[in-house]
Assembly symmetry: C2
C-alpha cells in the first residue's frame, strides 16, 4: 500500500478544514457542483450548518479553498521535492511518481473538482489558472532540459507535458481503490508508460 509521506497541511487552516475539503470534493463529484448545497456538505462532514459557516464563507469560497488546497498539495508534494533533483530524467520520474501517487491515494475527487473553473469568480479563477500554469511550466522546463540532453523523443515539450498530465489526471476518473488493480501496480505501469512515452531510452528501473 502506498501512502503519502505525511498529511498535507491545508494552508494553515488545519485538519478540520482539510477534512471538509475532501468530503466536499467527494459530494461535488458525485452530485455535480451546482446541485451540491452547503447543507449536503455540512451533513457529510458531521457539522451543523452553523458549524460549517465557522470554517467556510460559502460554496464558491469553498470551491476556491479546495482548489488552493489541491495546488498547495501539488507544490509541497510534487514541485518542491522534484526541484531538489538535479538530473532531469530523475526529476521527471519524481514528478510522475509523486503526482500519480497523490491521485491514486484518494485525492481523486479533489483532482476532478479542479476542473470546475467556470464556477469561480474571475479573480479566483485567475489565481488558480496561474498556479496550474506554474506547474505545467515546471514540467515543460524539465522536458526541455531532456530535449537538450538528447533524451526526449522528437516531440514538442508542451505536447509531451500535456500528455503526461492528461494520463495522470485521468486516473481519478476510473481508478477504484477497492478494485482489482493494486495502487502499486497502477503506479508501476503509469511510470513505465509515461517515461517510455516521452523518453527515447527505455526508462531505467
Amino acid at each position: 500500500m502506498i501512502k503519502l509521506k505525511e498529511p498535507i497541511p491545508a494552508s494553515g487552516k488545519g485538519k478540520r478544514a482539510s477534512h471538509i475539503y475532501r468530503v466536499a470534493a467527494e459530494i461535488m463529484c458525485h452530485k455535480g457542483y451546482e446541485a451540491t448545497s452547503m447543507n449536503d456538505i455540512a451533513d457529510a462532514a458531521g457539522l451543523t450548518k452553523a458549524g460549517i459557516y465557522h470554517y467556510i464563507r460559502g460554496k464558491e469560497e469553498l470551491l476556491f479553498e479546495i482548489m488552493m488546497y489541491a495546488m498547495d498539495n501539488v507544490e509541497q508534494n510534487i514541485i518542491v521535492p522534484a526541484q531538489e533533483v538535479a538530473d532531469a530524467e530523475e526529476r521527471l520520474r519524481t514528478i510522475v511518481d509523486r503526482h500519480t501517487r497523490s491521485v491514486i491515494e484518494g485525492v481523486g475527487a479533489i483532482t476532478i473538482v479542479l476542473d470546475e473553473m467556470t464556477a469561480l469568480t474571475p479573480a479566483h479563477r485567475k489565481t488558480i489558472a496561474s498556479r496550474k500554469r506554474a506547474y505545467l511550466d515546471f514540467i515543460r522546463r524539465t522536458l526541455e532540459q531532456l530535449a537538450e540532453e538528447g533524451k526526449l523523443r522528437n516531440v514538442n515539450p508542451t505536447i509531451a507535458a500535456f500528455s503526461l498530465l492528461g494520463m495522470i489526471l485521468w486516473i481519478s476518473r476510473w481508478y477504484r481503490r477497492d478494485g482489482k488493480i493494486t495502487p502499486q501496480e497502477a503506479l508501476n505501469d503509469y511510470l513505465e508508460i509515461a517515461m517510455n512515452g516521452v523518453l527515447k531510452m527505455e526508462a531505467q528501473a
Copy 2:
C-alpha cells in the same frame, strides 16, 4: 490541416440537430451544464425558444442526445474503421490516430460534455456508460492481442487502455486550434507518445 473525412450523421436527426449539439456543447463547457439555459442554446443556435423545442425536448434530453451523438461518432469514425484492421499494432495506431483527430478537429466541447454523467437520468446514464465501456473493451482487447504477440510493454492492458484514453481525451482541455501548435504536429506527437508508451518496439512510421 487535418479534417474528418465526412461529417458525422447525427443518428438520423440530420444536420440541424448536429449543429445544435455542437453549439450546446460549447456553451455547456463555457458556462457549466447547470448554468446553461435552453434560451442560451436557442440564442447561440440562431433559433427561437419555440424553434429549439421542435428539435429537443429539454435540457437533460439534449445532454443525452449530445452524448449519443458523441458515441455514434466514436463508433462510426473509430471503432468501425479500426475493426477492419487485422494487425493489432496497426489497429491500435488507427484508434489513436482517429480518436486524436476527432478531439483536435473541434469536437472538444463534446468530449468534455461526455463527463457530465451525474446530470443524466439513471436510464440514460446506463446507456451512455455501456457505450463507453464497449469502446474501452475494444481498446483493451487490442492491447491484450498485442500482449499475446509479445509487443505490449510489461503493463496491465486495462491500465494501458486508460492511459491512452486519458492522454487523448485531455486534448480537449488544453488544445486551441488558433494557437501555435498545428493539428498535424499535435497528431504526430500524440501518436509517437502513445504508441511508444505502451509498445515495446519503436512505433513504425
